[in-house]
C-alpha cells in the first residue's frame, strides 16, 4: 500500500514518515477534480489541513469517513515546506452523521466546528481542546440539547485561550456588578448599568453566570444529567458566543443560523 502510494507521487522524496493520530473532521473543501482538503482537529498535533486524494470520487475508499464531524483515526504524511499534509488512510472511530436528523442540532454541531476552526491556531497541539470538542459533540448527539453543550464549549474555549473575562466586575470601569450585567457587541466583558451602551445591548443576570461557571467546573455529562436546563441559558450562550466573535474580530456564519430558530 505504502509503496504503490509512493510510486505514484513524484514529490515523495520530500515526504516525512507516516504519523498516526486521532482527529475530528471540521470541514472539507473540494480540491481540483478528485481530491478534498480536509480541515482537522487532531489529538496529537492540533489543527491541521490535509489532502485526501480521490475523496471526491463516488467509489472513494474514504466513503463516509471524511464527512464533517466524523471522529476518525488517520495516518498522515508530513510534507516538507508544505502547509498541507497528505492523508494516507483513515478509518471511522465514531460517526456524528445522525445529528443531521435535527436541523438545530446540525447547526449547533457546525457552530462548534466553525468556532474551533477559526479560534485554534494551526499546528498547536492542545489535547484538552480536542477532548472538549469530542465531549461537546457527544453530549449534543446524546441529549439533543443545544444550550448547555454550547455554553460549556464556549466557556472552555475562551478559558483555555485565556480570554475569559471576570464575570463579577464591569469591563469598562472595574466596579463590581450588581444583580445585572449588560453586554454590548464588540465588548470584551460585561458592563455595569452606568457604562452600558444604550444600543445593541442585552442584560444578563449575574447569578445565571455564576451558576454556569460553577457547572462548567465539572463534566458536561454531569451538568446535563443534573436536571432541566436552568432559565437564562439562551442569554448566557449568546453572551459567550459574542465574546468569541469579539476575540476573532469576525462574525461566525453559523451563529446567525443558530438564532434563526428553525
Amino acid at each position: 500500500m505504502l509503496n504503490s502510494f509512493a510510486c505514484r507521487r513524484v514529490d515523495i522524496s520530500f515526504e516525512m514518515p507516516l504519523r498516526e493520530t486521532e482527529a475530528l473532521v471540521l470541514r472539507t473543501h473540494r480540491l481540483g477534480e478528485a481530491d478534498k482538503i480536509v480541515s482537522l482537529l487532531t489529538r496529537q498535533y492540533g489543527r491541521l489541513r490535509a489532502v485526501a486524494s480521490g475523496a471526491q470520487r463516488p467509489k472513494s475508499r474514504y466513503g463516509g469517513t471524511l464527512e464533517p464531524l466524523s471522529y476518525i483515526r488517520l495516518w498522515i504524511f508530513e510534507r516538507e515546506n508544505r502547509d498541507l499534509l497528505r492523508i494516507n488512510s483513515a478509518e471511522l472511530a465514531e460517526s456524528f452523521f445522525s445529528m443531521q436528523n435535527d436541523y438545530r442540532i446540525q447547526i449547533a454541531a457546525q457552530y462548534v466546528a466553525e468556532a474551533a476552526e477559526r479560534f485554534l491556531p494551526e499546528r498547536e497541539a492542545n489535547e484538552r481542546v480536542f477532548r472538549l470538542l469530542l465531549a461537546v459533540l457527544r453530549a449534543i448527539k446524546r441529549s439533543g440539547e443545544v444550550n448547555r453543550p454550547l455554553i460549556y464549549f464556549n466557556y472552555w474555549l475562551l478559558r483555555l485561550g485565556g480570554f475569559l473575562p471576570d464575570f463579577g466586575v464591569c469591563a469598562s470601569c472595574g466596579a463590581a456588578l450588581g444583580a445585572q450585567g449588560y453586554y454590548s457587541s464588540g465588548a470584551h466583558g460585561l458592563s455595569c448599568s452606568a457604562c452600558q451602551l444604550p444600543q445593541e445591548s442585552f442584560g444578563l443576570a449575574v447569578s445565571d453566570l455564576n451558576s454556569v461557571t460553577a457547572s462548567c467546573q465539572g463534566t458536561l455529562d454531569r451538568w446535563i444529567l443534573s436536571g432541566k436546563p436552568p432559565s437564562g441559558m439562551n442569554e448566557v450562550r449568546r453572551f459567550l458566543e459574542a465574546l468569541i466573535e469579539t476575540q476573532l474580530e469576525r462574525k461566525l456564519v453559523t451563529r446567525d443560523l443558530l438564532e434563526g430558530g428553525h
Binding site: 470541514r27 473540494r30 481540483g32 477534480e33 463516488p58 467509489k59 475508499r61 474514504y62 466513503g63 463516509g64 469517513t65 464527512e67 464533517p68 464531524l69 466524523s70 478509518e91 471511522l92 460517526s95 452523521f97 443531521q100 436528523n101 435535527d102 436541523y103 446540525q106 447547526i107 457546525q110 457552530y111 466546528a113 466553525e114 456564519v253 453559523t254 446567525d256 443560523l257 434563526g260 428553525h262
Partner: protein, 199 residues
C-alpha cells in the same frame, strides 16, 4: 503562471475557475483551443453567451430552461403526482439517465450548509410549497446528495412536507454498485442496512 504567454495564462486561469477543472485539465483545454481554428473558438464563445442569455429558471421547478415552464413541467406524459427534489439542474440529468422516473422535478440550487451560511432562505423552496397546495402531489422523492448537507436538507424537507399528508421518500444511500462490503465504513454500512428492501 510565468510559464505561459499572458493571454494563454489568462485563459488557463479562467478555465481553472470552472468546477472540476484543475491546473492540468485547464492547460489541456487551453492548448486544444489554441490549436483549433478561429471558427471553433467563436462557436464555443457564442454558445457560452447564448446559453447565458437564453437560459432562465423555470418558474415552477427552478430547472434551467429556454421556455417557461420547462418541458418537464409541461409534458402531459409525465405524472404530476410525484416530484423528485434535487440539489442542482445537473442532478435532473442524473435521474433522467435512468429512464425510470416519470414524474416531475424540483431544483433547490443548493443544500443546507450552516458553515457556508446557507439556510432555508437561501434555497429555492417557496415555489415547491406552492406546487404542493394543489393537492395533486402524492409523493416527494428527496434525491439530495448522500452527504451531511444533503441529508440535513432531506430531513428538513420531510419535517415540513409530511404534515401536509404527502408521502416523503429518500433515495437509498449505501454501498456503491460494483464495490465490496469489506471496504465500507460504518456510516455507509448503517445507511445501507436502513435502506434495505425485501427481495
Amino acid at each position: 503562471m510565468k510559464d505561459f504567454a499572458e493571454p494563454l495564462a489568462r485563459l488557463i486561469d479562467e478555465l481553472k475557475r470552472l468546477p472540476g477543472i484543475g491546473q492540468k485539465s485547464a492547460q489541456r483545454i487551453a492548448f486544444h483551443l489554441e490549436r483549433s481554428s478561429r471558427e471553433d473558438a467563436e462557436r464555443l464563445s457564442a454558445a457560452i453567451l447564448d446559453a447565458k442569455d437564453k437560459i432562465k429558471f423555470c418558474s415552477q421547478c427552478n430547472n434551467f430552461t429556454e421556455v417557461d415552464p420547462c418541458r418537464y413541467c409541461t409534458d402531459p406524459g409525465r405524472s404530476q403526482e410525484v416530484i423528485c427534489v434535487v440539489e442542482t439542474p445537473y442532478n435532473v440529468v442524473n435521474v433522467e439517465k435512468t429512464r425510470e422516473f416519470n414524474g416531475r422535478y424540483h431544483v433547490l440550487h443548493g443544500a443546507l450548509s450552516p458553515l457556508q451560511g446557507i439556510g432555508p432562505e437561501q434555497l429555492r423552496l417557496k415555489n415547491l410549497f406552492e406546487r404542493l397546495k394543489g393537492g395533486q402531489v402524492k409523493e416527494i422523492i428527496v434525491a439530495t446528495n448522500p452527504n451531511v448537507e444533503g441529508e440535513a436538507t432531506a430531513i428538513y424537507l420531510s419535517k415540513l412536507i409530511k404534515p401536509l399528508g404527502i408521502r416523503v421518500t429518500r433515495i437509498a444511500m449505501g454501498i456503491p454498485v460494483g464495490s465490496e462490503l469489506e471496504f465500507a465504513d460504518e456510516v455507509t454500512m448503517l445507511k445501507a442496512l436502513e435502506g434495505r428492501r425485501e427481495i
